[in-house]
């Protein structure tokens, strides 16, 4: 975990603070406590936390995307979700009073702040992290997971893929017609819980129907409207 330490940024100047757990924090003076936090950089593929390891603290992502997954014996990892800037990794294990329940690794260069376990109670007691913000955060996460449970259980893989592509599209590159997807076929197969070969087959069908395109390892949504109809389970 001892990665390159960055010069201290300070939470009061942080650009993603208003979408993080610290969004409703009482005032900047409370952020003095954060002098002890570590600002770290991870390269692609480096692990932030490992499933089953003892809980030592949580990460708040400043930039980059992190793959959150359950390692599966003799199979590919099962991806639970992709965490983006502002999200907190591992905080649930603090409240469940247990070891980390998933692994997290960087999908590219990731900058993240690490808050050690002994400081978490202090963060709540001094009002830096409000209880309401924590509750909202967990509600959002559960909602996302429960929707995916229903999709996994009930939707055909093609509809599930369509739904996933809509959920994962990169808003920054979105225009009316075309949207980029930053994830590989392998990632998508590991999220849905199917094989890469089967996902290639389904993607090919969508490419033939001109709903998506696949060039230079990049997926693009060409027809969001048709994809949305497909995501709802329509044939």
């Amino acid at each position: 975990m001892e990665r390159n330490n960055l010069p201290k940024l300070g939470c009061s100047n942080c650009k993603i603070r208003n979408i993080s757990l610290f969004a409703n924090g009482l005032s900047d003076s409370h952020f003095e406590l954060f002098a002890e936090k570590k600002e770290l950089v991870f390269k692609k593929g480096e692990k932030l936390i490992s499933d089953g390891d003892e809980f030592k603290g949580f990460f708040c992502i400043q930039s980059g995307t992190i793959k959150i997954y359950k390692p599966i014996n003799n199979k590919n990892d099962f991806i639970l979700w992709f965490a983006k800037p502002g999200e907190s990794i591992g905080i649930d294990s603090f409240f469940n009073n247990e070891n980390y329940q998933y692994s997290a690794s960087a999908t590219g260069i990731v900058k993240a702040c690490f808050f050690s376990a002994p400081k978490i109670n202090e963060l709540m007691q001094n009002g830096s992290v409000t209880y309401m913000r924590l509750m909202e955060y967990f509600c959002e996460r559960i909602d996302f997971i429960e929707k995916r449970i229903t999709s996994i259980a009930q939707k055909k893989t093609k509809s599930h893929l369509a739904e996933l592509l809509i959920a994962l599209r990169n808003d920054e590159t979105a225009d009316e017609k075309e949207t980029n997807i930053d994830y590989s076929i392998k990632d998508l197969a590991n999220i849905i819980g199917t094989t890469q070969n089967y996902l290639y087959k389904i993607s090919s069908e969508l490419i033939k129907e001109k709903i998506i395109s696949f060039e230079r390892k990049k997926l693009k949504i060409l027809d969001l409207e048709k994809l949305s109809i497909l995501a709802k389970g329509a044939k």
Partner: protein
């Protein structure tokens, strides 16, 4: 729906026998009395819905007795059970906390009595009590863990493993009857199918296989566990979900 409800006099929260296992365990008498003064107390028959997915929440429900399933409906109207609840558990808190509509539907699995706390009173007590906030956060963290566990199983495990694990979850959650064999809840084959994301036919077939293999004993809708060790082996259980609504401190 409400015309069918039985009305009773509500027990005071301070004297409630289930309070120790609920999120209200650490509340002071003043707050408990405030909750008691404003609450309603209703009994729902088996199959009656306590609240419906998509409706706006008016308050918080707390189960006094009985069993409840929490389920969502897919785009084609097919049911998916995401969680179960038992006495002492609260229902509908996520919609209240996130300010949106109910995420799922809650339906009584047997005659169930619930207390209902109006939104304004509950939020007033919640915001004034850091302990209650912390209990609620722990409850949400535990729900999240269970949901992630269920999702991973759905995607990775074979239907036979999933049904075996669903039975183990029911034993952990509702326990066994006095005979130490029969699971202390009655679920239809359709419910079991909707728990693990399979059809009623497959659910019937797999349970029947377990019955033939003498892992379980089927007697109508009642399911007895004859060989728990073998059931755990079939389920390939590596992690037992924490089903207690009041997580450990």
């Amino acid at each position: 729906m409400h015309s069918k409800l039985k009305k009773h006099e509500a027990p005071n929260c301070e004297n409630c026998t289930e309070r120790g296992s609920s999120i209200f365990c650490d509340l002071h008498a003043t707050d408990l009395n405030k909750l008691s003064e404003h609450k309603a107390y209703n009994t729902y028959k088996k199959g009656q819905s306590i609240f419906l997915e998509g409706n706006q929440p008016q308050g918080l429900f707390c189960i006094y007795s009985g069993k409840v399933k929490i389920h969502k409906f897919g785009d084609d109207g097919k049911e998916q059970i995401v969680r179960f609840a038992r006495k002492g558990n609260v229902l509908g808190y996520r919609a209240l906390l996130s300010g949106g509509a109910y995420f799922a539907t809650a339906t009584a699995l047997e005659e169930t009595t619930v207390c209902f706390f109006p939104k304004a009173i509950y939020m007033q007590v919640l915001l004034a009590n850091p302990d209650l906030c912390l209990q609620t956060i722990k409850l949400l963290a535990s729900d999240l863990k269970m949901a992630e566990h269920l999702m991973t199983n759905m995607a990775q495990k074979h239907v036979r493993e999933r049904i075996a694990e669903a039975l183990i979850l029911l034993i952990e959650y509702y326990g066994l009857e006095d005979d130490n064999v029969t699971i202390n809840t009655i679920l239809t084959r359709e419910d079991i199918g909707n728990m693990v994301g399979t059809t009623t036919e497959t659910s019937i077939r797999v349970l029947s296989d377990f019955n033939k293999e003498k892992i379980i004993r089927l007697a109508g809708k009642r399911i007895g566990i004859l060989n728990l060790e073998q059931l755990e082996k079939v389920a390939n259980v590596s992690l037992k979900p924490n089903s207690d609504q009041k997580p450990n401190k």
